[in-house]
């Protein structure tokens, strides 16, 4: 595995009258009762996380679960109470204000839920803003801004003001702005939550298209599980300030770590998520002359075939070897389990 871009160890963010003392007093692991008694609130509790280069890590949780606080701790928009955030080898929590400004100027980009555009600036000046504060001259920053504006599909709107654009267009500006400095890591804080469902879908496609071109390291915050499944390489599920499980979507569905995760993943369309490999039984004998499926196909894609057969269907891997078998009953269980 490559060196993680962001490594976060034992991260705490506590709100209250004396957060640091409170944490130290309870050996860096206060119980929920202790939180309640002292009036402190643990927004982020003992979070450990590693973000691999080029992956999309989605942090998912309901409102108040601490997901937005985590992403703000990683960029030090919020000062964490305790812990370590190692970004490309440097400990961010030990960086001076000046060093943080440099890091944010060159290595981080962020997209916000409500776009956070500057209302008095045109599209091009909003996109060029991060370059402007670095002192890049006007011609150069406008040239770069135009490139990105074209990339996000807003060519021709450079001179518009944010209020003259639709929500989806405004968020395209937000995305363009966050990419202006070619950041190494890209934070997206519920970027599509404020948009209509149809636009949201379109923007998700747009986002995947951009990621195919750019291969950024991404931390994506959302409360929408469908969105998570569509976009994520890996998923961290948060509950009351803690990450309760970190893994691929399939892992969350097949091996939920807690009842909370199970309840959360219950209603997701498994047909598109589960692979044959995670459902199949052991191989029974050599390959027959009936139809066969490969182990990396999705259940939804083979369900029709398998259910139409009386006998178990042979499962083969990429190189054609038999690795298992799939019965009608297994498919039905996988698709409809937990529904009764």
């Amino acid at each position: 595995m490559a060196e993680p871009v962001i490594l976060c160890r034992g991260l705490w963010k506590i709100y209250g009258s004396e957060p640091a003392k409170f944490l130290a007093r309870h050996d860096s692991n206060p119980s929920p009762e202790q939180f309640e008694q002292s009036g402190h609130i643990g927004a982020v509790q003992d979070v450990n996380l590693d973000v691999q280069p080029g992956e999309i890590l989605v942090i998912m949780g309901l409102s108040g679960s601490g997901k937005s606080t985590i992403v703000r701790c990683l960029s030090r928009l919020i000062e964490p109470t305790h812990g370590q955030v190692i970004f490309q080898g440097t400990d961010l929590l030990k960086a001076t204000e000046k060093e943080m400004i440099e890091i944010r100027r060159h290595k981080m980009g962020m997209v916000f839920q409500n776009f956070a555009l500057l209302p008095h600036r045109t599209v091009i000046d909003n996109v060029a803003f991060p370059l402007e504060v670095q002192g890049v001259d006007r011609a150069q920053r406008h040239e770069r801004a135009l490139e990105i504006i074209e990339l996000v599909g807003l060519k021709g709107r450079e001179k518009y003001y944010p209020r003259e654009l639709s929500g989806g267009q405004q968020q395209r500006v937000g995305i363009a702005r966050s990419l202006a400095v070619e950041p190494d890591v890209w934070f997206l804080d519920e970027p599509f939550s404020a948009l209509d469902p149809l636009i949201r879908r379109e923007m998700q496609d747009e986002f995947l298209r951009l990621q195919n071109l750019l291969h950024k390291t991404i931390i994506f915050i959302t409360h929408d599980f469908d969105e998570t499944v569509r976009l994520a390489d890996r998923i961290a599920i948060m509950y009351e300030g803690r990450i309760v499980q970190l893994g691929t979507a399939e892992e969350l569905v097949t091996k939920p770590a807690t009842d909370y995760v199970r309840a959360f993943t219950r209603d997701i369309p498994k047909a598109k998520l589960l692979t044959v490999a995670s459902v199949m039984g052991p191989a029974n004998g050599a390959r027959g002359d009936g139809p066969a499926v490969t182990d990396d196909q999705r259940i939804g894609d083979v369900a029709g075939l398998v259910i139409g057969q009386d006998k178990p269907v042979t499962v083969v891997n990429g190189s054609g070897n038999v690795v298992g078998s799939l019965t009608r009953q297994q498919v039905v269980d996988a698709l409809f389990a937990d529904r009764s």
Binding site: L77, M110, L118, F129, E132, V133
Partner: protein, 684 residues
């Protein structure tokens, strides 16, 4: 009464009439006891004895003896104490070089430069270079183009006609003098307000110290600024400018603080993530993002400036104000009305233009030739060129000669006489019955109200509403008035404002309720309130003097006319702001419209309406001082005019503080009640 009260009281629960009326009942009982047992109180508890107010062991005396033995202060009242400070500031030389007054006069000297410049530009021309002033046709056209640019041709037409009125009716010089005072003072007040706001944002401590000072400044009546200014700057035009700046800057400072703090968290985070330094955050993110709020402040400052510029006539500021003051003093009502209309038109134009400026949203431009990218600039340039050329060919387009101006004063006089004689009979009712049956009993009550009772009642209210802190605060305010030596005068002022506020409420509350019932009515009343509120308070003396001559009734009526606006506005705004879901719930429960009004809207809106009454009291206290000019009561206004005549700065400031503390007492108590009630209703 006891016969019927007995059985009713026995069933008194939280819902009974007696329970709901418990506080008014307590107050009524208090008044009854007061009337019965006032005689048993010792004299010192009724009026503050002179022994107290003139023999105060004031800290300043000790201070001045120790540090400034040269300054001997005769007497030892609060006024002496204030005058002591004033004379130290006036005469004590810092480092033996200059006095505080030299500093203030120096600063005031600086303002002469921009003032002269703008007056040269608008009225008299630059004689050194033989450049004539801007022709009136150009000023008129530019005002129109500005309005056109900011909102559309309608506003352009309005702005143009307001300016043109001043030219055509021979008020050009006066109006332009007033305008140039506003144009110089407003930017300075805005700048100082901005700087104070930014400093407050930077240092919490500074904000904590600044906020109460701003509150006090906002409750000081106009004369509280004028009299000290006379001492430290002198009489005249520039003194008026300085007073105006001081008077107009508190709202800007407050709005700056609120605006800069109110920028959306995400926008600030976007700034930080872009890698802004602290300085960049302030100048490139916070201030631009707060622009809409800051512009509301700009509008307020401009209107405050205009109001104060007019009143500054009392200390010798030139312009429309002094003309109006002179016409009123000599009872040339037609001429006064003509000047008043000029002031009103200027107020409307300035208000609408600055409001349009604050509401103007940026619009993108398409590329093209200069005139199509910047049509307004082009139009302004063309209009200026054409106007200057015209003025060169036809001198009347440059400066309208006096014989070509029009006056409608004789016609106005005729109309006024007609209106007055038509209303004389109907209004004689007020003149005859109001004083003996209403005014004099109330005045007697307030005059004879023992200060101990007033202090006790206010303190008790404070304690009930906000604990000992509020009680102590209110107690300090009233204690100050007691020790100031002007208790009786303060009570006369209280009586005038009390009567006026009661009339305002009786009149304004139903109007507000009426206006809230239909969208159309709300629009009409909102328009009227907006318009009347922009008028400088001084204007309201004209119709009042017309109808009631001078005297107590005039003074009260002036307050009523001016101070009714907030109670009307807060009533309809409060009633309409009730959440729609609650009204729908009431409708679906089968409420009739009047049940919705009285059982749903009214209880929820009541705290807001009380805030309107609070504003009315503050407006009333401002107006009672200005209308003291026509009143003739033995109140604080009369004393403050006397202090002004004698250039007694210490006394002037002391009297102004008494007014401010009366206002702050009411303000703190009502605000505390309203916020508590809102919290109970879950509205806060």
């Amino acid at each position: 009464m006891t016969g019927t009260a007995g059985p009713a009281l026995s069933t008194a629960g939280p819902q009974s009439v007696w329970f709901r009326l418990r506080w008014p009942l307590v107050a009524a009982l208090g008044v009854v006891f007061l009337i019965l047992f006032r005689g048993t109180l010792p004299d010192w508890a009724i009026t503050p004895p002179e022994l107290w107010t003139t023999n105060l062991p004031l800290p300043f005396l000790i201070f001045s003896d120790a540090f400034f033995p040269a300054l001997t202060i005769k007497g030892s009242s609060v006024a002496d104490w204030f005058n002591g400070i004033v004379s130290v500031l006036r005469e004590h030389e810092i480092f033996g070089l200059f006095t505080f007054r030299d500093v203030t006069r120096g600063i005031a000297g600086l303002i002469v430069w921009p003032l002269n410049f703008s007056e040269d530009l608008l009225i008299s021309g630059f004689s050194d270079w033989e450049i004539p002033p801007i022709p009136w046709v150009v000023t008129t056209a530019l005002a129109g183009i500005l309005g056109w640019y900011l909102r559309g041709w309608g506003l352009g037409l309005l702005a143009s006609s307001c300016i043109a009125y001043c030219a055509v009716f021979g008020k050009w010089e006066l109006a332009m003098t007033t305008l140039s005072l506003v144009l110089v003072t407003a930017p300075i007040a805005i700048l100082i307000g901005l700087v104070l706001g930014i400093l407050a944002l930077k240092w919490r401590q500074f904000e904590r110290a600044l906020w109460p000072i701003l509150n006090l400044m906002q409750s000081l009546p106009h004369f509280g600024y004028l009299i000290p200014i006379v001492v430290f700057v002198g009489l005249g035009h520039k003194a008026g400018a300085i007073a105006t700046i001081l008077f107009a800057l508190p709202p800007m400072a407050k709005i700056t603080i609120l605006g800069l703090r109110g920028v959306a968290e995400e926008v600030l985070e976007a700034g930080v993530m872009a890698g802004c330094t602290r300085r960049q955050m302030l100048w490139r993110v916070r201030i631009p993002a707060a622009r809409p709020t800051l512009m509301v402040g700009v509008n307020q400052v401009i209107m405050q400036c205009l109001a104060m510029v007019v009143i500054s006539a009392f200390i010798g500021a030139r312009g429309l104000g002094i003309d109006l003051l002179f016409r009123l003093q000599t009872l040339q009502l037609g001429r006064a009305l003509e000047s008043g209309i000029a002031i009103v038109l200027m107020a409307i134009a300035l208000d609408r233009l600055s409001q349009a400026l604050s509401e103007k949203e940026p619009v993108h431009r398409q590329d093209g030739p200069f005139w199509s990218v910047h049509p307004y600039l082009t139009a302004a340039g063309l209009a200026a060129a054409a106007g200057i050329l015209l003025a060169y060919l036809v001198p009347e387009a440059g400066q309208l000669p006096r014989e070509m101006t029009v006056t409608l004063a004789p016609q106005w006089d005729l109309i006024i006489r007609g209106v007055v004689s038509a209303l004389y009979e109907p209004l004689s009712f007020i003149r005859e019955y109001l004083p003996p049956y209403v005014l004099i009993p109330i005045r007697t009550f307030f005059e004879q109200l023992p200060w101990t009772v007033f202090l006790g009642a206010a303190g008790l209210c404070g304690w009930v509403l906000g604990g000992w802190r509020l009680a102590a605060l209110v107690g300090t305010y009233i204690g100050f008035i007691v020790l100031s030596g002007w208790w009786t005068e303060a009570m006369v002022t209280t009586y005038l404002v009390f009567v006026a506020v009661v009339i305002c409420t009786i009149f304004g509350f139903p109007v507000g309720v009426w206006a809230s019932r239909r969208d159309r009515r709300t629009r009409v009343v909102a328009f009227l309130c907006d318009t009347f509120q922009t008028f400088p308070s001084f204007i309201y003396l004209i119709p009042v003097v017309m109808l009631f001559q001078v005297g107590t009734i005039s003074q009260i009526m002036a307050i009523v006319v001016y101070a009714s606006i907030p109670v009307i506005r807060y009533t309809y705004v409060g009633l309409r702001a009730v959440p729609h879901s609650m009204v729908e719930a009431a409708v679906s429960s089968g409420c009739t419209p009047s049940q919705i009004l009285w059982k749903v809207r009214m209880p929820l809106a009541f705290p807001e309406i009380m805030l309107g009454v609070n504003q009315t009291i503050m407006f009333g206290l401002f107006m009672v001082m200005i209308a003291g000019f026509i009143g003739g009561n033995f109140d604080l206004a009369r004393e403050i005019f006397k202090a002004k005549a004698q250039n007694d700065a210490g006394l002037g400031l002391l009297l102004a503080l008494c007014v401010a503390f009366l206002g702050l007492t009411a303000d703190r108590l009502i605000s505390a009640w309203a916020s508590r009630r809102k919290a109970q209703l879950g509205l806060a």
